[in-house]
Amino acid sequence: MNKDELETMRNSFQMLDERRREILNDSRIKKLQERVKKIRTESMENMEKLMETATKSFAENDIQLIYAQDASTALKQIYELIKKEKIVAKSKSNTVGEIGLSDFLKEKNVELVETDLGDRIVQLNPHDKRPAHPIGPALHLKVEKIAKIISESLGVSVEPDPKTIMELVKANVLQELESCNIGITGANSVAAEDGSLIMVHNEGNISLLSLMDTHIIVIGIDKLVSTIEDAISVVKLETAYATGTRIPSYINIISGPSKTADIEKKILKNMYGARKVVVILLDNGRKKAIRECLWCIGCGSCIVSCPVYNVVGHEFGYRGYLGGRGVAMSQFLEDEKTSYDSGLFMCTLCGLCTIECPVGISTNDIMEKIRCKSQEAGFYPRAHGKIRKNIKTKGKPF
């Protein structure tokens, strides 16, 4: 991010923080927070058990489940499902970003349409396609800059007016969707016992994608909780922390393909919604992750307050996983070098993110453990090597 983008991002964050203040002090939200913390902690302690339960429930619900141990398996499996298509559509998803689907499809000459407005803007930006915030990907871009991006990429002249830009992108995306048969989304929380996937959105785009011929849902194994009730608690809290609103416009619960039994109680498939629902359940290093790191509900609250993120932006993070917790995850998803390159040593370990985190992930403690692994693999700043030597030989760091 350049200086202007960082300034715009900080202003957006400040607005978001002010908008959240009242709701986050509400006693109902505080109660919900306690409940969700328990749900997430217990779910990650029982992750393997939840995976077994989910496998059975999805089968009962006629949802095709594909387990992917790593990103390349996930990509291969997705490609098997979409290889006949020229174009597919997707919603905002960090898990899809994690496996690098966008670049992969480009190589395979399959076009990918982002349907989330912020994501679409970032996708059309020729300079930097990384988001600023998990729920507000384009929060670092001024409306003038967005107008320029849209004008150049869509070959039209658009005024720097939010409403005009929205209408133009909407028309463009809807036109593209006419050629799409496959919708790819993530899920915000997944109920193992019910075999249900819960998705939160305000724009209505996920509803459109879920009505396509095939709906592919890419989730990490860390998204699992026990029941729909638990999952709803998680996404309600995520919404409050991410946007400062009590409830999103849409909470979709997908528990199987479209069907009817209205004629003589005989099951007929393929009514209005998806004919086929496929879940890609991704490990990609999560099983070996520090469990506390997996409590995350994806609200982005940690980066809004982070003193480092506020001055460097998404340089401090890995793909869509932004800030310190994202850097920590990158070591499990990839390796020591990746965590080093994602800004492992940019963190001041101040601990403010833990205070701001609805489930209280102690990222600074996790960072210290991750740093240890990284230095053992030879990835640490030269300056730190010198300090270590000074302490050994002179008894002081300088």
């Binding site: 003193p307 001041t348 370990l349 991750i370 640490y380 302490i391 760091p397």
Partner: protein
């Protein structure tokens, strides 16, 4: 607190870079009539090694340091030393050290009238060091001291929501430009607070904030010494 057998552990920054903090602290100890010792060739507490991922080196260092310190009351100027000696020695070595931070000692000395303060109208704001505040839950000792010295003007983000000074976690050595930018954001809040003096209770914080701004930055010890009333 066993003040008969107190070691004043200066810590590397107050010992090597900001000697004024160590001098001010010693002067206050003398003024209050406290017997204390200084360790010749004071060792490293191990904090810097722990935070930067050199755990094996840290443990080796901490074991040596623990042998020197165990059994005495240890007075520290540095928030980093405080967190490490109090929390990490317990968690990693199972050594329960008797550690006290200068802010806690000064607060007691003022309350017990072992030092007499001449209050003034000076406007002071306080920067919570992460290692003292969020990491150890000590927010009030420094504030109590400052309220007896002058008028405490809080910054927008204070106590558990305080913003970092930018120098923690080895960032100042590995990414000095990030450290500077973070300090500048914190100093904006100092400006807005309306205070004339910025006080803190960690030499690392003082170093980074003083380097990046023009406001007078004083460690709590320096400010206390300035306000002691001599009978």
């Amino acid at each position: 607190m066993n003040t008969n057998k107190m070691i004043y552990f200066k810590g590397c920054v107050a010992r090597e870079k900001l000697k004024n903090i160590a001098d001010a602290t010693e002067n206050i100890l003398k003024e209050a009539g406290i017997n204390y010792q200084i360790i010749e060739d004071e060792p490293c507490c191990g904090s810097v090694l722990l935070r930067t991922g050199f755990v094996d080196d840290a443990l080796e260092q901490m074991q040596k340091t623990a042998q020197l310190l165990n059994g005495d009351t240890i007075l520290v100027s540095c928030a980093g030393c405080y967190r490490t000696l109090k929390k990490d020695y317990k968690e990693l070595l199972d050594v329960d050290l008797d550690v006290i931070h200068t802010s806690q000692l000064f607060s007691e000395l003022i309350e017990e009238k072992k030092i007499i303060i001449k209050p003034s109208h000076q406007k002071i704001t306080y920067h919570d060091p992460c290692h003292l505040g969020r990491h150890c839950g000590e927010y009030e000792a420094s504030r109590k001291v400052l309220e007896s010295l002058g008028q405490l003007m809080e910054m927008e983000h204070n106590r558990d929501k305080a913003l970092c000074c930018g120098s923690g976690g080895g960032v100042k050595s590995a990414h000095p430009e990030i450290s500077d930018s973070i300090a500048l954001n914190r100093l904006k809040e100092v400006d807005k607070s309306g205070a004339d003096i910025l006080s803190t209770s960690c030499p690392f914080c003082k170093l980074n904030l003083a380097e990046n701004g023009s406001v007078e930055v004083l460690d709590l010890s320096e400010l206390v010494l300035r306000c002691i009333k001599h009978e």
